[in-house]
Amino acid sequence: MRLFIDVGRYCRLIYEAIRSSTEFSMYWKNLINEMVKTGYDSLPIIMLAGFFTGAVMTIQTSYQLVAGFIPATTIGSIVSQSLLIELAAVISGLVLAGRVGARIATELGTMSVSEQIDALESMGFNSVTFLVMPRVLAGVFMFPIIYVTAVVAGLLGGIASALMTGALPVSDFMLGARQVFTPADVSFGIIKSFVFGFIITSISCFKGYFATGGAEGVGKATTQAAVLSCIYILLADFVLAFVLL
């Protein structure tokens, strides 16, 4: 029963956010602020995660492909394509479920339990327009940029790893990457990042917006936002792979 109520409230919140999206003058300042917090501020952790994912994958792939008849360029192909269609989007999503999701749920949760959301409403603001819409839009706009950053960092990590370990020449890595590159893979990754951006920000807004019960309630909302975001990212990843590949 509780699940149905939550689904209903979530759908209503998202409907209200979309319905009020035309009130751009009310939330454009918040939107820019959120784009900086969600996108720009997340770049260091995303570059770090992407770089090491690419580096580790290069080492592991070269370790697994020991047969002499498999060309070294295959390692570059596997690493680059894995980054493009799966790892860059999913690793970024999971990292940002913690970083961005937890921040959003904590901010809105604190505002909810300290009556700041009621204060906004009582002044005549639509709190969903003002608080939820910019956060969700920032997630949807910025996650594709984050995805591209993770791909680039991952490829750099792969190249650095190839150089440092001597697993394969950099030229072979690049050749392998170019051989399998198709724009459709990038489109697939970008579609994923749009969906993941929406999932993380909308779930975190929902959990924070309806948080009750003081500090404990905010903590609970934050945990639930991060955990649910991770679960739905993995589910959406499966569904998108099934439908689009």
Partner: protein, 244 residues
């Protein structure tokens, strides 16, 4: 004028109160009193439609607020100033920005006009020098004053106070009570004060509504309250250690 007519509210299976009817006349200060959990704040949140009732209506100047479309409701809410229990200041911006916040979105004022109006509001609550302090740097009393300055900055017709003196020392409570009286007199505002502080009630209120046993148990003027034989009301007042 605010007319509360046969209002009933419950959360799930829990009835908060039933069949509450109160008239609040222009310029009047009504205190809503009752034990913790009697639904005082819930009743207040119906006046500016932060909550909807199960049954009944609230008429503001003859118009049922629960039937208003959102654009109309937004305008109505701007006629209310609300001082929340914890002041509900936005902690990501300074105290000054908190007070100027509604003006930036709901007025055509220039930067200088906004500044003048904010200073005027802060002056009315005896806070002229808060500079760029954040809400976290302010004491409880100062937070309430900033909250009150924000509530009056759009020059509302109605002011709602939710537990304005709770958590404050007696001296600061007196200062807040003085401000409530001052607001009603200088701005000619209709006020609703939610409290269980009888000292505050006796100082600021013209009329009193007592919520008890899930209903409006008693309603009348301060003088009528002083001579009332209503058992629960007398017990409530006595528990506050006031002899009236």
């Amino acid at each position: 004028m605010i007319e509360i007519k046969n209002l009933t509210k419950s959360f799930g299976k829990n009835l908060v109160w039933k069949d509450v009817s109160i008239d609040i006349h222009p310029g009047e200060t009504l205190a809503i009193i009752g034990k913790s959990g009697s639904g005082k704040s819930v009743l207040m949140k119906h006046l500016n439609v932060l909550l909807y009732p199960d049954e009944g209506e609230v008429l503001i100047d003859g118009e049922n607020v629960f039937e208003m479309r959102y654009a109309r409701l937004r305008k109505l809410r701007q006629r209310f100033g609300v001082l929340f229990q914890g002041a509900a200041l936005f902690d990501s911006i300074t105290a000054f920005e908190n007070v100027s916040f509604p003006l930036r979105y709901f007025s055509d004022f220039t930067e200088q006009e906004i500044r003048n109006r904010v200073l005027e509001s802060l002056d009315l609550v005896n806070l002229s020098d808060i500079g760029n302090k954040s809400p976290a740097e302010l004491s409880g009393g100062m937070r309430k004053r900033v909250g009150l300055a924000r509530a009056i900055v759009l020059k509302p017709d109605y002011l709602l106070y939710d537990e304005p003196t709770s958590g404050l020392d007696p001296q600061t409570s007196n200062e807040i009570n003085d401000l409530i009286i001052n607001m009603a007199e200088t701005l000619d505002i209709t006020s609703v004060v939610i409290t269980h502080d009888m000292h505050s009630v006796l100082r600021v209120a013209d009329k009193v509504a007592f919520l008890d046993e899930q209903k409006l148990s008693w309603y009348g003027t301060i003088d009528e309250m002083k001579t009332s034989d209503h058992k629960a009301l007398k017990a409530f007042v006595k528990a506050s250690e006031y002899t009236i």
